[in-house]
Symmetry: C2
Subunit: 235 residues, 2 copies
Protein backbone atom coordinates (compact mmCIF):
# COMPACT_ATOMS: atom_id res chain seq x y z
CA UNK A 1 0.00 0.00 0.00
CA UNK A 2 2.98 2.34 0.36
CA UNK A 3 3.87 4.79 -2.37
CA UNK A 4 7.17 5.20 -4.16
CA UNK A 5 10.15 6.60 -2.27
CA UNK A 6 9.87 10.09 -3.73
CA UNK A 7 6.17 10.24 -2.91
CA UNK A 8 6.62 9.54 0.77
CA UNK A 9 5.07 12.82 1.86
CA UNK A 10 2.29 12.93 -0.72
CA UNK A 11 -1.31 12.81 0.41
CA UNK A 12 -3.18 9.74 -0.74
CA UNK A 13 -6.07 9.96 -3.17
CA UNK A 14 -8.35 7.37 -4.71
CA UNK A 15 -8.99 7.68 -8.45
CA UNK A 16 -11.82 5.77 -10.10
CA UNK A 17 -10.27 4.31 -13.25
CA UNK A 18 -12.34 2.65 -15.95
CA UNK A 19 -9.82 2.29 -18.76
CA UNK A 20 -11.58 4.94 -20.80
CA UNK A 21 -10.02 8.21 -21.85
CA UNK A 22 -11.70 10.42 -19.25
CA UNK A 23 -10.54 8.56 -16.16
CA UNK A 24 -7.01 8.31 -17.61
CA UNK A 25 -6.89 12.11 -17.79
CA UNK A 26 -8.22 12.30 -14.24
CA UNK A 27 -5.53 9.93 -12.96
CA UNK A 28 -2.88 12.02 -14.71
CA UNK A 29 -4.39 15.13 -13.12
CA UNK A 30 -4.26 13.65 -9.61
CA UNK A 31 -0.63 12.62 -10.11
CA UNK A 32 0.26 16.06 -11.49
CA UNK A 33 -1.31 17.52 -8.34
CA UNK A 34 1.20 15.41 -6.35
CA UNK A 35 -1.24 12.94 -4.90
CA UNK A 36 -0.15 9.41 -4.17
CA UNK A 37 -2.79 7.99 -6.47
CA UNK A 38 -4.54 4.72 -5.68
CA UNK A 39 -6.46 3.70 -8.77
CA UNK A 40 -9.68 1.74 -8.25
CA UNK A 41 -11.29 -0.23 -11.06
CA UNK A 42 -14.71 -1.68 -10.38
CA UNK A 43 -15.64 -4.68 -12.52
CA UNK A 44 -19.40 -4.30 -12.44
CA UNK A 45 -20.20 -6.75 -15.21
CA UNK A 46 -19.82 -4.38 -18.13
CA UNK A 47 -19.58 -6.04 -21.51
CA UNK A 48 -16.47 -4.23 -22.60
CA UNK A 49 -13.89 -6.21 -20.61
CA UNK A 50 -11.19 -4.83 -22.91
CA UNK A 51 -11.51 -1.65 -20.83
CA UNK A 52 -10.25 -3.56 -17.81
CA UNK A 53 -6.90 -4.45 -19.36
CA UNK A 54 -6.75 -0.86 -20.56
CA UNK A 55 -7.18 0.29 -16.95
CA UNK A 56 -4.19 -1.82 -15.90
CA UNK A 57 -2.04 -0.44 -18.70
CA UNK A 58 -3.03 3.15 -17.92
CA UNK A 59 -2.39 2.77 -14.17
CA UNK A 60 1.08 1.36 -14.87
CA UNK A 61 1.98 3.92 -17.55
CA UNK A 62 0.94 6.92 -15.47
CA UNK A 63 2.56 5.67 -12.26
CA UNK A 64 -0.35 4.97 -9.93
CA UNK A 65 0.95 3.88 -6.52
CA UNK A 66 -1.44 0.99 -6.54
CA UNK A 67 -4.20 -0.41 -8.74
CA UNK A 68 -7.05 -2.06 -6.89
CA UNK A 69 -9.69 -4.06 -8.77
CA UNK A 70 -12.94 -5.09 -7.19
CA UNK A 71 -15.92 -7.05 -8.48
CA UNK A 72 -19.56 -6.27 -7.98
CA UNK A 73 -21.89 -7.95 -10.40
CA UNK A 74 -24.47 -5.27 -11.23
CA UNK A 75 -25.20 -7.20 -14.43
CA UNK A 76 -27.31 -9.66 -12.44
CA UNK A 77 -29.61 -6.85 -11.35
CA UNK A 78 -30.33 -6.15 -15.04
CA UNK A 79 -31.74 -2.88 -16.25
CA UNK A 80 -28.98 -1.84 -18.67
CA UNK A 81 -27.91 -2.51 -22.25
CA UNK A 82 -24.32 -2.05 -21.06
CA UNK A 83 -24.33 -5.14 -18.87
CA UNK A 84 -26.86 -7.30 -20.75
CA UNK A 85 -26.16 -9.71 -23.59
CA UNK A 86 -27.36 -8.53 -26.99
CA UNK A 87 -26.94 -5.53 -29.22
CA UNK A 88 -25.69 -2.20 -27.94
CA UNK A 89 -27.86 0.43 -29.60
CA UNK A 90 -26.16 2.66 -32.11
CA UNK A 91 -27.18 5.99 -30.65
CA UNK A 92 -26.09 8.21 -33.51
CA UNK A 93 -27.26 11.79 -33.69
CA UNK A 94 -28.68 14.06 -31.04
CA UNK A 95 -29.73 12.33 -27.89
CA UNK A 96 -33.16 12.27 -26.33
CA UNK A 97 -33.62 11.17 -22.74
CA UNK A 98 -31.43 8.73 -20.86
CA UNK A 99 -29.37 6.29 -22.96
CA UNK A 100 -30.12 2.57 -22.75
CA UNK A 101 -26.50 2.14 -21.66
CA UNK A 102 -27.33 3.85 -18.36
CA UNK A 103 -26.53 1.36 -15.57
CA UNK A 104 -28.91 1.77 -12.60
CA UNK A 105 -27.26 3.88 -9.88
CA UNK A 106 -23.83 2.99 -11.26
CA UNK A 107 -21.99 6.11 -10.23
CA UNK A 108 -23.51 5.96 -6.75
CA UNK A 109 -22.06 2.44 -6.45
CA UNK A 110 -18.67 3.53 -7.85
CA UNK A 111 -18.44 6.58 -5.60
CA UNK A 112 -19.50 4.61 -2.52
CA UNK A 113 -16.82 2.00 -3.23
CA UNK A 114 -14.26 4.74 -3.87
CA UNK A 115 -15.21 6.35 -0.57
CA UNK A 116 -14.84 3.04 1.23
CA UNK A 117 -11.32 2.53 -0.15
CA UNK A 118 -10.42 6.16 0.58
CA UNK A 119 -11.49 5.88 4.21
CA UNK A 120 -9.66 2.58 4.62
CA UNK A 121 -6.48 4.19 3.22
CA UNK A 122 -6.85 7.41 5.17
CA UNK A 123 -7.19 9.32 1.90
CA UNK A 124 -9.26 12.50 1.92
CA UNK A 125 -9.57 12.92 -1.83
CA UNK A 126 -11.59 10.92 -4.33
CA UNK A 127 -11.36 11.61 -8.07
CA UNK A 128 -13.97 10.71 -10.64
CA UNK A 129 -14.02 11.30 -14.40
CA UNK A 130 -17.64 12.29 -14.95
CA UNK A 131 -17.82 14.75 -17.78
CA UNK A 132 -19.86 17.64 -19.04
CA UNK A 133 -20.57 16.06 -22.39
CA UNK A 134 -22.10 13.02 -20.74
CA UNK A 135 -24.33 14.66 -18.20
CA UNK A 136 -27.01 15.70 -20.60
CA UNK A 137 -27.89 12.04 -20.80
CA UNK A 138 -26.65 10.30 -17.67
CA UNK A 139 -28.18 11.74 -14.49
CA UNK A 140 -25.31 10.39 -12.40
CA UNK A 141 -22.84 12.57 -14.31
CA UNK A 142 -24.52 15.83 -13.25
CA UNK A 143 -22.62 18.24 -11.00
CA UNK A 144 -25.62 18.43 -8.64
CA UNK A 145 -25.35 14.69 -8.09
CA UNK A 146 -21.62 14.88 -7.34
CA UNK A 147 -22.17 17.68 -4.80
CA UNK A 148 -25.10 15.86 -3.16
CA UNK A 149 -23.10 12.66 -2.91
CA UNK A 150 -20.19 14.53 -1.33
CA UNK A 151 -22.63 15.92 1.24
CA UNK A 152 -24.05 12.45 1.96
CA UNK A 153 -20.51 11.15 2.49
CA UNK A 154 -19.73 14.07 4.80
CA UNK A 155 -22.67 13.03 6.98
CA UNK A 156 -22.29 9.29 6.71
CA UNK A 157 -18.61 8.46 7.06
CA UNK A 158 -16.13 8.38 9.90
CA UNK A 159 -14.02 10.83 7.90
CA UNK A 160 -16.87 13.33 7.82
CA UNK A 161 -17.94 12.76 11.42
CA UNK A 162 -14.41 13.43 12.63
CA UNK A 163 -14.05 16.71 10.77
CA UNK A 164 -12.07 15.53 7.74
CA UNK A 165 -14.73 14.86 5.09
CA UNK A 166 -13.85 13.33 1.77
CA UNK A 167 -13.48 15.78 -1.09
CA UNK A 168 -14.90 14.64 -4.43
CA UNK A 169 -12.95 15.92 -7.40
CA UNK A 170 -14.50 15.84 -10.85
CA UNK A 171 -11.96 17.84 -12.87
CA UNK A 172 -13.61 17.09 -16.21
CA UNK A 173 -17.09 18.26 -15.21
CA UNK A 174 -16.87 21.54 -17.11
CA UNK A 175 -14.74 20.24 -19.97
CA UNK A 176 -15.75 19.25 -23.47
CA UNK A 177 -14.38 16.02 -24.90
CA UNK A 178 -11.93 18.08 -27.00
CA UNK A 179 -10.74 19.88 -23.84
CA UNK A 180 -10.22 16.49 -22.24
CA UNK A 181 -8.08 15.32 -25.16
CA UNK A 182 -6.01 18.50 -25.01
CA UNK A 183 -5.59 18.25 -21.23
CA UNK A 184 -4.57 14.60 -21.51
CA UNK A 185 -1.96 15.31 -24.19
CA UNK A 186 -0.48 18.07 -22.05
CA UNK A 187 -0.27 15.63 -19.12
CA UNK A 188 1.39 12.94 -21.22
CA UNK A 189 -1.54 10.54 -21.37
CA UNK A 190 -1.07 7.84 -24.02
CA UNK A 191 -4.60 7.63 -25.38
CA UNK A 192 -3.55 4.58 -27.38
CA UNK A 193 -3.76 2.66 -24.09
CA UNK A 194 -7.33 3.76 -23.36
CA UNK A 195 -10.52 2.16 -24.61
CA UNK A 196 -13.97 3.72 -24.97
CA UNK A 197 -16.11 1.47 -27.18
CA UNK A 198 -19.21 -0.15 -25.65
CA UNK A 199 -19.15 -2.83 -28.29
CA UNK A 200 -15.61 -3.87 -29.29
CA UNK A 201 -15.02 -6.99 -31.37
CA UNK A 202 -12.96 -9.96 -30.13
CA UNK A 203 -9.69 -8.27 -31.14
CA UNK A 204 -10.61 -5.21 -29.07
CA UNK A 205 -11.28 -3.08 -32.15
CA UNK A 206 -13.84 -0.32 -31.54
CA UNK A 207 -17.16 -0.45 -33.40
CA UNK A 208 -17.04 3.22 -34.50
CA UNK A 209 -20.83 3.31 -34.15
CA UNK A 210 -21.76 3.38 -30.47
CA UNK A 211 -22.22 6.53 -28.44
CA UNK A 212 -18.85 6.15 -26.73
CA UNK A 213 -17.00 5.79 -30.05
CA UNK A 214 -18.84 8.80 -31.41
CA UNK A 215 -17.96 11.01 -28.43
CA UNK A 216 -14.35 9.89 -28.57
CA UNK A 217 -14.08 10.72 -32.28
CA UNK A 218 -15.64 14.14 -31.71
CA UNK A 219 -13.10 14.79 -28.96
CA UNK A 220 -10.09 14.11 -31.17
CA UNK A 221 -11.65 15.96 -34.09
CA UNK A 222 -12.29 18.98 -31.87
CA UNK A 223 -8.74 18.91 -30.54
CA UNK A 224 -7.41 18.60 -34.09
CA UNK A 225 -5.27 15.54 -33.40
CA UNK A 226 -5.54 11.94 -34.56
CA UNK A 227 -6.68 9.22 -32.14
CA UNK A 228 -3.76 6.81 -31.77
CA UNK A 229 -6.28 4.02 -31.24
CA UNK A 230 -8.09 4.76 -34.50
CA UNK A 231 -4.76 4.54 -36.34
CA UNK A 232 -4.08 1.14 -34.80
CA UNK A 233 -7.48 -0.26 -35.73
CA UNK A 234 -7.76 1.43 -39.13
CA UNK A 235 -10.69 -0.02 -41.01
CA UNK B 1 -38.58 -12.05 -10.48
CA UNK B 2 -42.38 -12.14 -10.38
CA UNK B 3 -44.25 -12.05 -7.10
CA UNK B 4 -46.80 -14.48 -5.82
CA UNK B 5 -50.22 -14.65 -7.42
CA UNK B 6 -51.97 -12.66 -4.68
CA UNK B 7 -49.33 -9.97 -4.83
CA UNK B 8 -49.73 -9.27 -8.51
CA UNK B 9 -50.76 -5.69 -7.98
CA UNK B 10 -48.35 -4.90 -5.17
CA UNK B 11 -45.67 -2.28 -5.72
CA UNK B 12 -42.16 -3.64 -5.59
CA UNK B 13 -39.72 -2.64 -2.88
CA UNK B 14 -36.12 -3.57 -2.17
CA UNK B 15 -35.28 -4.40 1.45
CA UNK B 16 -31.67 -4.58 2.62
CA UNK B 17 -31.48 -7.75 4.68
CA UNK B 18 -28.46 -8.63 6.80
CA UNK B 19 -29.74 -11.54 8.84
CA UNK B 20 -29.76 -9.45 12.00
CA UNK B 21 -32.87 -8.63 13.98
CA UNK B 22 -33.33 -5.07 12.73
CA UNK B 23 -33.52 -5.84 9.04
CA UNK B 24 -35.84 -8.78 9.74
CA UNK B 25 -38.29 -6.37 11.38
CA UNK B 26 -37.92 -4.01 8.41
CA UNK B 27 -38.67 -6.81 5.93
CA UNK B 28 -41.77 -7.74 7.94
CA UNK B 29 -42.79 -4.06 7.93
CA UNK B 30 -42.47 -3.78 4.15
CA UNK B 31 -44.53 -6.94 3.67
CA UNK B 32 -47.16 -5.70 6.14
CA UNK B 33 -47.33 -2.51 4.09
CA UNK B 34 -48.23 -4.73 1.09
CA UNK B 35 -45.03 -4.32 -0.86
CA UNK B 36 -43.77 -7.11 -3.07
CA UNK B 37 -40.51 -7.31 -1.13
CA UNK B 38 -37.24 -8.12 -2.88
CA UNK B 39 -34.68 -8.81 -0.18
CA UNK B 40 -31.06 -7.92 -0.95
CA UNK B 41 -28.19 -9.33 1.07
CA UNK B 42 -24.74 -7.93 0.39
CA UNK B 43 -21.84 -10.20 1.29
CA UNK B 44 -19.20 -7.57 1.91
CA UNK B 45 -16.65 -9.80 3.60
CA UNK B 46 -18.01 -9.58 7.12
CA UNK B 47 -16.65 -12.20 9.51
CA UNK B 48 -20.00 -13.32 10.74
CA UNK B 49 -21.06 -15.51 7.79
CA UNK B 50 -23.65 -17.14 10.03
CA UNK B 51 -25.70 -13.97 9.42
CA UNK B 52 -25.93 -14.88 5.74
CA UNK B 53 -27.71 -18.18 6.33
CA UNK B 54 -29.89 -16.30 8.80
CA UNK B 55 -30.82 -13.85 6.03
CA UNK B 56 -31.93 -16.74 3.82
CA UNK B 57 -34.05 -18.24 6.60
CA UNK B 58 -35.63 -14.88 7.43
CA UNK B 59 -36.43 -14.09 3.78
CA UNK B 60 -38.11 -17.48 3.37
CA UNK B 61 -40.00 -17.35 6.68
CA UNK B 62 -41.40 -13.87 6.10
CA UNK B 63 -42.32 -14.48 2.47
CA UNK B 64 -40.00 -12.23 0.48
CA UNK B 65 -40.79 -12.44 -3.23
CA UNK B 66 -37.13 -12.91 -4.00
CA UNK B 67 -33.85 -13.00 -2.14
CA UNK B 68 -30.89 -11.62 -4.05
CA UNK B 69 -27.36 -12.04 -2.75
CA UNK B 70 -24.44 -10.10 -4.11
CA UNK B 71 -20.75 -10.05 -3.26
CA UNK B 72 -18.50 -7.06 -2.89
CA UNK B 73 -15.33 -7.68 -1.00
CA UNK B 74 -14.90 -4.59 1.17
CA UNK B 75 -12.67 -6.69 3.44
CA UNK B 76 -9.80 -6.25 0.99
CA UNK B 77 -9.95 -2.49 1.42
CA UNK B 78 -9.30 -2.99 5.14
CA UNK B 79 -10.10 -0.38 7.74
CA UNK B 80 -12.51 -2.35 9.93
CA UNK B 81 -12.40 -4.85 12.76
CA UNK B 82 -15.59 -6.34 11.35
CA UNK B 83 -13.98 -7.57 8.14
CA UNK B 84 -10.41 -8.16 9.37
CA UNK B 85 -9.03 -11.34 10.90
CA UNK B 86 -8.35 -11.14 14.64
CA UNK B 87 -10.23 -10.25 17.78
CA UNK B 88 -13.45 -8.26 17.74
CA UNK B 89 -13.20 -5.79 20.58
CA UNK B 90 -15.55 -6.34 23.48
CA UNK B 91 -17.06 -2.90 23.61
CA UNK B 92 -18.84 -3.18 26.92
CA UNK B 93 -20.17 -0.10 28.64
CA UNK B 94 -20.89 3.36 27.34
CA UNK B 95 -19.46 4.08 23.95
CA UNK B 96 -17.00 6.78 23.02
CA UNK B 97 -16.48 7.74 19.39
CA UNK B 98 -16.91 5.47 16.41
CA UNK B 99 -16.66 1.72 17.07
CA UNK B 100 -13.79 -0.24 15.53
CA UNK B 101 -16.45 -2.38 13.84
CA UNK B 102 -17.37 0.59 11.62
CA UNK B 103 -16.84 -0.51 8.00
CA UNK B 104 -15.71 2.41 5.81
CA UNK B 105 -18.68 3.87 3.93
CA UNK B 106 -20.55 0.59 4.34
CA UNK B 107 -24.06 1.95 4.36
CA UNK B 108 -23.31 4.14 1.35
CA UNK B 109 -22.27 0.98 -0.52
CA UNK B 110 -25.34 -0.94 0.69
CA UNK B 111 -27.76 1.86 -0.20
CA UNK B 112 -26.17 2.37 -3.61
CA UNK B 113 -26.49 -1.33 -4.38
CA UNK B 114 -30.06 -1.33 -3.09
CA UNK B 115 -30.83 1.63 -5.33
CA UNK B 116 -29.30 -0.14 -8.31
CA UNK B 117 -31.48 -3.22 -7.78
CA UNK B 118 -34.55 -1.04 -7.15
CA UNK B 119 -34.06 0.85 -10.41
CA UNK B 120 -33.48 -2.36 -12.32
CA UNK B 121 -36.72 -3.80 -10.89
CA UNK B 122 -38.74 -0.64 -11.35
CA UNK B 123 -39.19 -0.40 -7.57
CA UNK B 124 -39.60 3.05 -6.06
CA UNK B 125 -39.06 2.07 -2.44
CA UNK B 126 -35.91 1.01 -0.66
CA UNK B 127 -35.97 -0.13 2.98
CA UNK B 128 -33.02 -0.12 5.35
CA UNK B 129 -32.81 -1.13 9.01
CA UNK B 130 -30.58 1.59 10.42
CA UNK B 131 -31.57 2.26 13.99
CA UNK B 132 -31.63 5.00 16.56
CA UNK B 133 -29.60 3.08 19.08
CA UNK B 134 -26.77 2.63 16.61
CA UNK B 135 -26.48 6.13 15.27
CA UNK B 136 -24.70 7.56 18.26
CA UNK B 137 -21.71 5.55 17.14
CA UNK B 138 -22.03 4.81 13.43
CA UNK B 139 -22.21 7.97 11.33
CA UNK B 140 -23.87 6.09 8.48
CA UNK B 141 -26.85 5.27 10.70
CA UNK B 142 -27.76 8.94 11.25
CA UNK B 143 -31.05 10.26 9.89
CA UNK B 144 -29.20 13.18 8.24
CA UNK B 145 -27.17 10.70 6.25
CA UNK B 146 -30.25 8.79 5.09
CA UNK B 147 -31.94 12.02 3.95
CA UNK B 148 -28.79 13.24 2.18
CA UNK B 149 -28.36 9.92 0.41
CA UNK B 150 -31.98 9.99 -0.72
CA UNK B 151 -31.37 13.45 -2.16
CA UNK B 152 -28.22 12.27 -3.97
CA UNK B 153 -30.20 9.40 -5.48
CA UNK B 154 -32.94 11.77 -6.54
CA UNK B 155 -30.37 13.75 -8.50
CA UNK B 156 -28.28 10.88 -9.77
CA UNK B 157 -30.63 8.15 -10.95
CA UNK B 158 -32.90 7.66 -13.93
CA UNK B 159 -35.76 7.22 -11.45
CA UNK B 160 -35.12 10.65 -9.99
CA UNK B 161 -34.46 12.33 -13.32
CA UNK B 162 -37.77 11.06 -14.67
CA UNK B 163 -39.82 12.34 -11.75
CA UNK B 164 -40.17 9.13 -9.76
CA UNK B 165 -37.34 9.31 -7.23
CA UNK B 166 -36.56 6.42 -4.93
CA UNK B 167 -37.95 6.74 -1.43
CA UNK B 168 -35.66 5.55 1.36
CA UNK B 169 -37.52 4.05 4.28
CA UNK B 170 -35.79 3.62 7.62
CA UNK B 171 -38.70 2.61 9.86
CA UNK B 172 -36.48 1.82 12.87
CA UNK B 173 -34.70 5.17 12.92
CA UNK B 174 -36.64 6.52 15.89
CA UNK B 175 -37.04 3.20 17.66
CA UNK B 176 -35.13 1.79 20.61
CA UNK B 177 -33.95 -1.81 20.44
CA UNK B 178 -36.80 -2.75 22.80
CA UNK B 179 -39.31 -1.05 20.47
CA UNK B 180 -37.81 -3.05 17.61
CA UNK B 181 -38.30 -6.31 19.49
CA UNK B 182 -41.90 -5.41 20.31
CA UNK B 183 -42.63 -4.36 16.71
CA UNK B 184 -41.09 -7.58 15.39
CA UNK B 185 -43.13 -9.78 17.72
CA UNK B 186 -46.31 -7.99 16.63
CA UNK B 187 -45.39 -8.63 13.00
CA UNK B 188 -44.66 -12.30 13.61
CA UNK B 189 -40.89 -12.16 13.23
CA UNK B 190 -39.18 -15.30 14.53
CA UNK B 191 -36.13 -13.77 16.20
CA UNK B 192 -34.74 -17.26 16.66
CA UNK B 193 -33.87 -17.16 12.97
CA UNK B 194 -31.92 -13.89 13.23
CA UNK B 195 -28.28 -13.47 14.21
CA UNK B 196 -26.56 -10.42 15.66
CA UNK B 197 -23.19 -11.45 17.09
CA UNK B 198 -20.03 -10.03 15.51
CA UNK B 199 -18.01 -12.91 16.85
CA UNK B 200 -19.93 -16.21 16.87
CA UNK B 201 -18.13 -19.49 17.44
CA UNK B 202 -18.06 -22.31 14.87
CA UNK B 203 -21.47 -23.59 15.97
CA UNK B 204 -22.97 -20.14 15.41
CA UNK B 205 -23.34 -19.48 19.13
CA UNK B 206 -23.18 -15.77 20.03
CA UNK B 207 -20.26 -14.52 22.15
CA UNK B 208 -22.50 -12.54 24.56
CA UNK B 209 -19.70 -9.97 24.82
CA UNK B 210 -19.57 -7.91 21.63
CA UNK B 211 -21.48 -4.72 21.11
CA UNK B 212 -24.08 -6.40 18.91
CA UNK B 213 -24.80 -9.09 21.51
CA UNK B 214 -25.06 -6.45 24.21
CA UNK B 215 -27.55 -4.33 22.22
CA UNK B 216 -29.61 -7.39 21.40
CA UNK B 217 -29.79 -8.46 25.05
CA UNK B 218 -30.81 -4.94 26.09
CA UNK B 219 -33.56 -5.02 23.47
CA UNK B 220 -35.12 -8.21 24.77
CA UNK B 221 -34.64 -7.11 28.38
CA UNK B 222 -36.37 -3.82 27.64
CA UNK B 223 -39.25 -5.57 25.89
CA UNK B 224 -39.56 -7.99 28.81
CA UNK B 225 -39.38 -11.13 26.67
CA UNK B 226 -36.78 -13.86 26.35
CA UNK B 227 -34.54 -14.03 23.26
CA UNK B 228 -35.33 -17.36 21.56
CA UNK B 229 -31.73 -17.46 20.35
CA UNK B 230 -30.34 -17.09 23.87
CA UNK B 231 -32.48 -20.05 24.95
CA UNK B 232 -31.11 -22.17 22.13
CA UNK B 233 -27.48 -21.35 22.92
CA UNK B 234 -27.82 -21.36 26.73
CA UNK B 235 -24.42 -21.22 28.32
Amino acid sequence: MSGNEHKRDAARAVVLLSGGMDSAVVLATAIRDRFEAHALTVRYGQRHAVELSAARAVAAALGASEHVEIDVDLARFGGSALTAPGEIPRDVGPRHGIPSTYVPARNAVLLALGASLAEALGARDLFVGVSAVDYSGYPDCRPEFIRAFEEALRLGTRAGATGAPLRLHAPLLAMSKADTVRAGLELGVDFGLTRSCYNPDESGAPCHACDACRLRALGFEGAGVPDPLARRYQR
